[in-house]
């Protein structure tokens, strides 16, 4: 497994899967670059698992094509595809020991000497001493690594991971995220990872595609998507956002101005994805600063600002999360880093919330 393989891009073209009238995957167009760690992120029922199963060959698309490089694999049966899957429940063969589970794919392809590769693979996932155990004798995390080893040993062009960490507890999950990332870097195979856990997607993947209702809402580097969501769904699904409904009133330099509930907010022209004048102004909670009303003079003139009353304070150690009810009755969330001790607002305080306009983003309404 030491040599890096030359793998090719995975292309999904106009991929559609219909169950009756309902389109689980709707006209999906996607290129997954070779050697990347790609995450399909979405809520349950958004079509991400169906997409994965179509790539694996476990589900037939209603229309569209799947290809690896120039090679069309749409009509290929699962057992003929150069693709392997790590199943959500691992699906380890309970009647075989770990060694035989990992050797399964090699044996099916008629590889005579499986001992070397299997041992090497078990070494990679740090399970060499467990070779002769049965899957039920292993912990969840170990089973998960066997599932990865069993798929990876075949050196597939693409490795598919279907919520592979869903069954693990939080601590183990963090550990496995790092582990999987390490393995992926080591073997250089394209990983396509399906998950509903946005944090998992962001920590592991180079590229995240946020899926909703069978379509991809936004695709890009995790940080780019987080900093600049392009749709309301993404703004709310990937992290939290405060969205203010408003109407675009003009442009001043690099900023557009938006009237919202009697306030005027500035949004950078380049960060506005709304085409019409009806739009939302969005801002992430940690980009906002909260001040007691008497300190209003401290707010820089260029900043967007609003006033309201604190309705809830939760202290989480690293930060304090405020729920603020604005003057027009909208609840917004503000995260404040706990840099200073004892400098906190209390429930009922009148406050000013402000943020630099370059942190705003504009979304179509």
């Amino acid at each position: 497994m030491t040599e890096r393989r030359i793998v090719e891009d995975l292309h999904l073209r106009d991929l559609t899967k219909k169950y009756g009238e309902l389109a689980a995957v709707d006209d999906l167009d996607l290129t997954i670059p070779a050697g990347s760690f790609f995450a399909l992120l979405g809520a349950s029922g958004c079509g991400k698992t169906t997409t994965l199963r179509m790539v694996a060959g476990l589900e037939d698309p209603s229309s569209g094509t799947i290809s690896i490089g120039e090679r069309d694999i749409t009509g290929l049966r699962a057992y003929k595809r150069p693709v392997n899957t790590v199943f959500q429940s691992y699906a380890l063969f309970p009647h075989m020991d770990i060694f035989e589970n990992v050797a399964f794919g090699l044996r099916r392809r008629g590889v005579k000497d499986v001992k070397g590769p299997v041992e090497e693979m078990l070494e990679l996932v740090e399970l060499a001493p467990m070779a002769r155990r049965k899957p039920t004798q292993l912990s969840g995390g170990q089973q998960q690594r066997v599932a990865v080893a069993r798929a990876l040993i075949n050196q597939p062009d693409v490795l598919l991971l279907d919520e592979p960490l869903g069954a693990l507890d939080l601590k183990l999950r963090r550990q496995m995220q790092i582990e999987l990332k390490r393995i992926q870097t080591e073997v250089g195979i394209t990983f396509v990872h399906v998950t509903h856990d946005q944090e998992e997607a962001m920590t592991m993947a180079d590229t995240v595609a946020v899926m909703n209702a069978g379509r991809i809402e936004q695709l890009g580097h995790p940080a780019d998507i987080y900093e600049l969501p392009r749709t309301v769904f993404v703004a709310n699904f990937l992290g939290q956002s405060n969205l203010f409904a408003g109407v675009k009133t003009g442009t001043s330099g690099e900023l557009i101005t938006v009237e919202s509930h009697g306030q005027t907010f500035g949004v950078p022209l380049a960060r506005n994805s709304a085409e019409g004048s009806d739009m939302y102004v969005g801002v992430r909670p940690e980009k906002m600063t909260i001040l007691d009303e008497p300190d209003a003079h401290k707010v820089p003139d260029s900043h967007n600002r609003l006033t309201g009353a604190v309705t809830d304070v939760s202290y989480t150690g690293v930060s304090t999360q405020y729920l603020v009810n604005t003057d027009w009755g909208q609840d917004i969330t503000v995260f404040e880093q706990n840099v200073l001790v004892g400098d906190r607002c209390d429930v009922g305080d009148r406050v000013i919330v402000h943020w630099a306009p370059e942190h705003s983003f504009g979304l179509a309404r």
Binding site: G57, L58, A78, Y79, S89, A91, F104, G105, N154
Partner: protein, 297 residues
């Protein structure tokens, strides 16, 4: 009771342990009683009977003795029926397995919302009497019936008929014990995670290989349970041979029945019964050892 327990246990909680063991005996009592009355006592009676000798001059009357010769005598007289029972029950078991496996597989993996109904349909025939159903097969397999006529038209029947041949007996045995094959197979297959089949395909296994390497080995407990539940009653059955076979197709069950009821040769009938039990015990033991499964239940 307390004396056999390790000292630490007995000093810590002796009353609880005592009460618990007493409760256990109390709960076991009905079962043990049932076994004693309906198994141990009849078995001992049967064994004692198998050693009796005839009262001289009085036919049908026997007196206590220790005549082990009843066994070789019964065996030499009915070895043919023993062998035939083994062959018929064996063939019926294999046929039942071949018929039941795809059916159980279909219900388990494709049954969906119809699973319950399909299972009821499997068991439904047993709501009617065993005897009645076997009689019905006389009509189905009758010489002028559609099946026999059809097969005769193809001239594939060795004796130009089915009824009153070994084929009819085997067909009857297969039919009557089929549900006992289907249910354990279904239970084993239904327990199987369908993702294992997907995983096997994902790992380059052709569907036939998937069956051989994944589905079949995982269904083995069901196969073993099903074949035993079919073979054991089929081996001792006499209704099918009596109703569907000719005198040349009699099985060991018929021999026991005739000796008990017609000939009133109780010692021979008892000896046959005991040998049948012993033989089944040996066959089952060897079979389970060979099948190498401890997960029978």
């Amino acid at each position: 009771m307390a004396a056999v327990l390790p000292a630490s246990t007995s000093t810590q909680q002796p009353p609880t342990v005592k009460r618990r063991s007493r409760t256990a005996y109390f709960l076991l009592a009905p079962g043990m009683g049932w076994l004693a009355v309906f198994f141990a006592v009849p078995f001992i009676t049967l064994f004692v009977t198998s050693l009796q000798v005839p009262v001289p001059g009085q036919s049908g009357r026997y007196m206590p003795a220790f005549d082990l010769m009843n066994y070789p005598e019964a065996l030499s007289a009915y070895s043919e029926q023993f062998i035939r029972s083994f062959v018929y029950a064996g063939i019926a078991t294999v046929l039942a397995l071949i018929i039941a496996y795809p059916l159980a597989y279909f219900i388990a993996f494709r049954g969906g919302q119809w699973k319950g109904l399909l299972l009821v349909l499997v068991i439904a025939p047993t709501f009617a009497s065993f005897l009645l159903r076997t009689y019905a097969w006389r009509t189905i397999l009758a010489d002028e019936g559609p099946i026999t006529s059809f097969l005769n038209a193809l001239s594939v029947l060795p004796q130009d008929r089915i009824l009153n041949t070994g084929i009819a007996v085997i067909a009857g045995l297969t039919y009557n014990f089929l549900p006992f094959m289907i249910l354990p197979l279904y239970a084993a297959l239904d327990r199987m995670d369908p993702r294992l089949i997907e995983a096997s395909g994902d790992l380059y296994a052709h569907p036939a290989t998937t069956f051989r390497k994944v589905v079949w080995p995982l269904s083995l407990p069901g196969v073993v349970a099903g074949t035993l539940l079919t073979f054991i009653p089929a081996f001792g059955d006499y209704i099918n041979a009596q109703l569907l076979g000719s005198t040349g197709d009699r099985m060991i069950g018929n021999a026991i029945q005739i000796n008990f009821i017609q000939f009133r040769d109780y010692p021979i009938a008892a000896a046959l019964s005991i040998m049948l039990m012993a033989l089944i015990l040996v066959i089952v033991f060897v079979y389970i050892r060979r099948a190498g499964t401890e997960e029978l239940v």
